[in-house]
């Protein structure tokens, strides 16, 4: 695609999230609080769960949440079909869900940024090759791509992260490359070149910082997307496998029991939705602050 068309289309796509209130505006306190909570849960992981998330207890299967009839305060959010505590699974799930999403974003972002930088700065044949590969990867809707990779690599936490990295890096590469191309023209870069700085140094120390804000915004908005992708994969049975637990997996497992035990699907579903909304709100606010005109 031509640079201008790309720019316009990207503008069109990015305008998706431009909030209606003014530049920066109110910081989203609630969203930030939720994000913080999730992060704490993720870091705490097994240490802060009331029960071992994977321990089966056949005497208490499908117990409803504490406030419902038949529930007990022993299991605040109820238990699943093997008697495992839902609250513990939710917390443990936060760890895996968030970890996979963040790892995918960070790793995918790093790879994508590196390649995008190289493509944008070096130009020529390197740029052409990289961008064609980027196009190939972007030619597929992400879940299709993810499925094909999962089929090839297998399931499990490590592989899922790898799959998400593979489906994700191209967007960063494309973004960074076009930013770099436009920054490259600017005076300070010309000055640096004249001053004799090595290309790598110019790229890393002068160009990259200018691109960081866009990358950051994209990354934060990406976390939500990655969580949904992982939960979709797990729903299809091709994502996280037991005894690990992620929200997507909990949803997939609980789904069969939906008509008898609503709490098995509602808690993980709510967790996903709340987390994604919060990260998106945070990302929107960041974008409004750094880039109100939607230059991205």
């Amino acid at each position: 695609m031509s640079a201008t068309t790309t720019g316009r289309l990207r503008q069109a796509r990015r305008m998706v999230r431009l909030p209606a209130w003014g530049v920066a505006g109110r910081p989203p306190i609630l969203a930030a609080a939720v994000c913080l909570l999730i992060v704490i849960a993720a870091i705490g992981g097994g240490a802060i769960t009331p029960y071992v998330p994977d321990e089966a207890d056949f005497t208490a299967i499908l117990a409803p949440p504490a406030w419902s009839e038949g529930g007990s305060w022993q299991h605040l959010l109820g238990t699943d079909q093997l008697g495992r505590d839902m609250l513990s699974r939710l917390i443990a799930g936060a760890r895996i869900s968030l970890l996979t999403a963040v790892a995918a974003v960070v790793a995918g972002g790093t790879v994508g940024v590196a390649l995008g930088l190289a493509a944008g700065y070096i130009g020529g044949i390197v740029e052409a090759v990289i961008m064609r590969v980027v196009d190939a990867f972007l030619a597929l809707p992400f879940i299709l791509m993810a499925l094909a990779f999962v089929a090839a690599l297998g399931t499990g936490v490590g592989n899922i992260v790898l799959v998400m990295v593979l489906t994700n890096w191209a967007r960063y590469a494309r973004l960074v490359r076009s930013e770099v191309v436009s920054i490259k023209q600017r005076d300070f870069v010309a000055l640096a070149q004249v001053a004799g700085l090595r290309p790598a140094a110019i790229a890393l120390r002068h160009i990259l910082p200018n691109v960081m804000t866009s990358i950051l915004v994209l990354a934060v908005l990406d976390v939500g997307r990655a969580i949904i992708l992982e939960s979709s994969l797990s729903f299809l049975g091709l994502g996280i496998q037991p005894p690990e637990v992620s929200w997507g997996l909990a949803l997939a497992e609980g789904r069969t029991y939906m008509s008898v035990a609503w709490w098995l699907t509602v808690w993980p579903g709510l967790a996903i939705v709340m987390t994604v909304i919060s990260f998106n709100a945070l990302g929107d606010w960041l974008k409004a602050g750094f880039d109100p005109r939607g230059r991205l």
Binding site: D54, A56, L82, G154, G237, Q241, P242, P243, T256, S259
Partner: protein
């Protein structure tokens, strides 16, 4: 009416319909015959039936069947000389009687006079011969020929209704396997329909005839009015293919389907409370177990006492109640009630975790090395994940460490059925479905060393298994098989768990007793209430 009889090819398959003049002439003749027979008028008056199934048939060619999943189609559209009756026991179907020579090698069959193909043609001994020829022909590439048809030396046509089957080797499982491994097809149909005759219009003799199909969406059948004895109470039958459990079950809740098959246990209980749905269970032959790698895994597993102890460590009843909600029957042996020779007398393993731990310690079991368990992640088998996790937690309680890896079905079966067994796998969750009451299927393909799914090796048992079918007397064979089963119980190559019940959801307007001991729906006896 002529349409249905000739068989207008379903254009949705994308294959061009090519019918030579001969077919049209034959079709015309068949149509005339059908018109004369009482039939088509009735078919119009009979109500429709819709059944929601979980997987599509991968083929409609009886010589290309690749697995048990396809039988929901074949068991209703095709028949063999013998096959399961309403109790799941072998009974005469297309043949009305048979005699067998004392040495067990020569079988004479007399066909029913009123047996017909779906195109109206009578079933003759020549068709039986042709069915054998096609099933063993190299160009047909029948992947299951080795079980039955490859053992037939010749089929001699004695007269129009009598044929003589000569076997190469004596095979006690022959009659039983006729029901699933040797379907009778029409020579006229195959020879006139050109290439891939069954892809566009499969012609069989079963209670239901094929009408049309949309791959992965539905298969339409019609009640075959001229069937020799099992004329269905329904006219048009639609088999809707809905892989997703939840969506499939919803079909009977909303009344969109009259029957839903393969209901996961958890969904069955709440359905029972609905006024417009009945839950019907029937025992099936789908076995669930944990295969033990007695070849090259954890060294402790190569001892029979350790394997027995593992069986003792799992509270199978509790696990069954918890994961299968009672929709299964616990089994002790590597076979279940109803299988020939399974009624051997043995002392049950019992549930005794303390004793199990003792045995392991005495045997010098290495508790530091975890047992690696392979499970099935994607839900082809109900509660597969939960079962593995449950077994693992029981093992954990006696101090055995476990590491579970869940794989999707493709990866799982590649490992389970691999030629060289993976030494990094110690226990594998598995299921095996017997097609009929004969034990040789499972024993030869899952226990005998060197077979596809065997993770166990014992020369003495192998020798016995190789002789298992070489009997003329049923009683002698029964004793022999009982002996094998008792020995296998002692050897414990598996952690035996249970057989899954077939759970059907049926609308209130339907009356049905599903055939027990088959793992697919046999629909000819479905009635309106």
């Amino acid at each position: 009416m002529a349409h249905a009889v000739i068989g207008t090819a379903p254009t949705r398959l994308g294959a061009r319909t090519e019918f030579g003049r001969r077919t049209w002439l034959l079709g015309g003749a068949a149509a005339a015959l059908a018109m004369r027979g009482a039939g088509t008028a009735h078919a119009q008056a009979k109500p429709p039936l819709s059944v929601a199934v979980g997987t599509d048939a991968t083929t409609m060619d009886p010589c290309r069947i690749a697995g048990g999943n396809d039988y929901f189609f074949f068991a209703n559209v095709f028949e063999g000389l013998y096959g399961p009756d309403e109790q799941g026991q072998p009974a005469p179907l297309l043949a009305e009687s048979h005699t067998v020579s004392p040495d067990g090698l020569v079988w004479d069959f007399t066909l029913r006079p009123n047996a017909r193909f779906h195109n109206g043609e009578p079933v003759t001994a020549d068709d039986v011969r042709f069915s054998w020829q096609r099933a063993v022909a190299p160009e047909t590439r029948n992947p299951r020929a080795s079980v039955l048809v490859a053992n037939i030396a010749d089929v001699v046509v004695l007269d129009e209704r009598r044929c003589q089957v000569r076997l190469k080797k004596r095979d006690a499982s022959f009659l039983n396997n006729c029901g699933e491994y040797w379907y009778i097809i029409s020579r006229k149909h195959v020879e006139s329909a050109g290439e891939n005759p069954f892809d566009r219009m499969p012609i069989g003799t079963g209670p239901f005839a094929f009408v049309e199909r949309r791959i992965r969406s539905y298969i339409k059948l019609r009640g075959f009015e001229q069937h020799w004895g099992r004329v269905p109470a329904f006219g048009e039958v639609t088999l809707k293919i809905i892989p997703d459990d939840q969506s499939r079950v919803a079909q009977v809740q909303t009344g969109e389907a009259d029957i839903v098959i393969n209901i996961p246990p958890v969904l069955a209980a709440p359905l029972q409370r609905l006024p417009n749905v009945q839950i019907i269970r029937a025992p099936s032959f789908q076995n669930i177990y944990i295969a033990i790698n007695a070849l090259n895994g954890h060294p402790g597993l190569q001892r029979a006492d350790v394997r027995r102890a593992l069986n003792m460590a799992v509270d199978k009843q509790a696990l069954l109640r918890a994961t299968m909600l009672g929709f299964a029957r616990q089994i002790e042996m590597p076979c279940q009630t109803g299988i020939f020779g399974c009624d051997a007398t043995v002392t049950p393993y019992g549930f005794d975790p303390t004793r199990a731990r003792e045995i392991l310690s005495q045997a010098g079991f290495d508790f530091n090395r975890p047992l690696r368990i392979l499970g099935q992640g994607t839900g082809r088998v109900p509660q597969a994940r939960e079962t593995v996790q449950g077994v693992a937690s029981f093992l954990n309680r006696i101090g055995v460490r476990t590491e579970i890896t869940m794989l999707d079905y493709g990866a799982w079966i590649s490992t389970y059925g691999a030629k060289e067994k993976d030494p990094n796998v110690d226990l594998i969750f598995a299921n095996f479905t017997d097609y009929n009451t004969d034990p040789s299927g499972r024993l030869l393909r899952q226990i005998r060393s060197g077979s596809v799914y065997s993770w166990y090796s014992n020369a003495e048992i192998d020798a016995q298994l190789d002789r298992m079918n070489d009997f003329a007397s049923t009683e002698e064979r029964r004793k022999f098989v009982q002996g094998i089963m008792a020995k296998l119980h002692e050897e414990a190559p598996l952690i035996t768990l249970w057989t899954v019940d077939s759970v059907y959801g049926v609308g209130r307007g339907i009356r049905w007793t599903p055939t027990p001991n088959v793992s697919w729906p046999v629909l000819f006896n479905v009635q309106r209430a």
